[in-house]
C-alpha cells in the first residue's frame, strides 16, 4: 500500500515537472533565470524534463517493490 501511494506521488511529481518544463520553455516562468528577456529558457526546460523522467523511474521502482 505504501509503495503504491509512493508510486502515485512520484507520477504526480513527474506531471508537475512536465508542466514546469513547459512553462519555462514558453518563457512564462522567470524565476532564477540568467536572462529575463529570453523567449525560451531551454536549460530550465531540459532540467525539469530530466526531473520528470527521473520521477517516473522512481515511480516504477516504488511500484515494483509493491509487486515483488
Amino acid at each position: 500500500m505504501r509503495g503504491n501511494s509512493l508510486a502515485v506521488g512520484f507520477v504526480v511529481l513527474a506531471v508537475v515537472f512536465v508542466l514546469l518544463a513547459g512553462l519555462y520553455y514558453e518563457g512564462v516562468l522567470q524565476i532564477f533565470v540568467s536572462d529575463p528577456h529570453a523567449k525560451h529558457h531551454t536549460t530550465h526546460a531540459i532540467l525539469f524534463s530530466v526531473l520528470a523522467i527521473a520521477s517516473l523511474i522512481a515511480a516504477n521502482f516504488a511500484r515494483s517493490k509493491r509487486t515483488a
Binding site: 532564477f32 531540459i46 530530466v50 521502482f61 515494483s64
Partner: protein
C-alpha cells in the same frame, strides 16, 4: 586571444578540471596575474569554454568508455525493470541521483554565483578555502582509517578496508552530487569536493576519484552541448578554439590516468597545500602589486 594564449588556456583547463585544484579558479586567476586582456566574464569567451569542456568530457568518455557502455545499458535495464540486480545498474542509478542535485543547483544558481564571485580576488580566497577543505577531508579520513583499519600496515591495506563506488548509499550519492554545486564558486574544485565527499561516504581514494569523474561527465558534457549553438556564430575563430579543445582533451586524459594511479595510495593533502599556497600568493600579488 592569441593562438598561444588559446592553447595555454586549453592545456590549463584540461589539466586542472580533473586535478582537485579548481579549473575555474585557475582560469580566472592566471590571465589576471599575467595581465592578459581577455576576461572570462566576456560573452565572446563562452564558445571557447564550451569547446574546452567538450574536450574534457570527451577525454573522460574515452577513459571510461567500457564502463559507460555498461552504465547506459544498466540504466535502461534497471529503469524499465524497476529493480536493481547488477552493480552496473546500481552505479547508473547512483550517478542519476548524484547528478540531479548538481543539475538543479547549477541551473538555478550558476548565473547568480558567477556574477557575484567572478573576480580574481574572490577566486584566490576560494582557492585557499578549497585547500583547507582538501586538508579537512583528509584529516577526517585519517580518523576513519584509525577506526576502520587500525591494524593495516601499508596504505594499500588501509584503502582495501573502504568501499567501491557501487557500494555507496543513494543518500551519500546525492550529497556527493550536491557538493559539485560548490564548484560554481571560482576556486572551489569540482573533483576536489566530490572526491572529498566520496571519502566521507567511505569510498577508497581511487574509487572516490572514479565516482567523481563519472559524476562529472554528464554535467560537463551537458553544459557544453547546451551551448553549442553559440559556436555557430561567424565571429568565432573555430580552428583556434578546436585546437585548444583537443589539447584540453589530451591533458584531461593524461590527468585522469595519472590521478587514478596516484589515488591507489595517494591522498588529497599535496593538492590541499598547493591550493592554500597558490591562493595566498595570488591574493598577495593581486592586493599589493600595482
Amino acid at each position: 586571444m592569441t593562438l598561444a594564449q588559446a592553447l595555454f588556456m586549453g592545456l590549463l583547463q584540461g589539466a586542472t578540471e580533473l586535478f582537485p585544484v579548481s579549473s575555474l579558479g585557475h582560469a580566472v586567476l592566471i590571465p589576471s596575474l599575467l595581465h592578459w586582456s581577455f576576461k572570462q566574464s566576456d560573452p565572446s569567451f563562452v564558445p571557447f569554454l564550451v569547446l574546452l569542456h567538450l574536450g574534457t568530457a570527451g577525454a573522460l568518455l574515452v577513459v571510461y568508455r567500457t564502463q559507460w557502455v555498461e552504465i547506459i545499458k544498466g540504466f535502461f535495464t534497471a529503469a524499465v525493470r524497476g529493480r536493481i540486480e547488477k552493480p552496473s545498474e546500481r552505479l547508473a542509478m547512483l550517478l542519476l541521483v548524484g547528478t540531479i542535485p548538481a543539475g538543479i543547483l547549477g541551473v538555478f544558481l550558476e548565473h547568480q554565483l558567477k556574477s557575484l564571485f567572478a573576480s580574481p580576488k574572490a577566486a584566490a580566497i576560494f582557492l585557499i578555502v578549497n585547500g583547507l577543505l582538501m586538508l579537512g577531508f583528509e584529516a577526517l579520513r585519517r580518523r576513519a582509517e584509525a577506526r576502520v583499519a587500525p591494524a593495516a600496515k601499508t596504505r594499500v591495506e588501509q584503502e582495501e578496508s573502504f568501499a567501491s563506488a557501487e557500494q555507496i548509499s543513494f543518500k551519500a550519492a546525492a550529497l556527493v552530487g550536491a557538493c559539485q554545486a560548490l564548484a560554481l564558486l571560482p576556486g572551489i574544485s569540482r573533483s576536489g569536493v566530490t572526491i572529498g565527499g566520496g571519502l566521507l561516504a567511505g569510498l577508497r581514494h581511487q574509487e572516490a576519484a572514479r565516482f567523481s569523474f563519472l559524476l562529472a561527465t554528464p554535467i560537463i558534457a551537458a553544459a557544453g552541448v547546451l551551448e553549442i549553438p553559440q559556436l555557430l556564430s561567424s565571429t568565432v575563430p573555430l580552428a583556434e578554439y578546436v585546437a585548444a579543445a583537443v589539447l584540453a582533451g589530451v591533458a584531461a586524459y593524461l590527468s585522469a590516468r595519472f590521478l587514478l594511479r596516484y589515488f591507489r595510495s595517494g591522498r588529497l593533502d599535496p593538492y590541499g597545500w598547493y591550493c592554500a599556497a597558490a591562493g595566498a600568493i595570488s591574493l598577495a600579488l593581486l592586493t599589493f602589486r600595482p
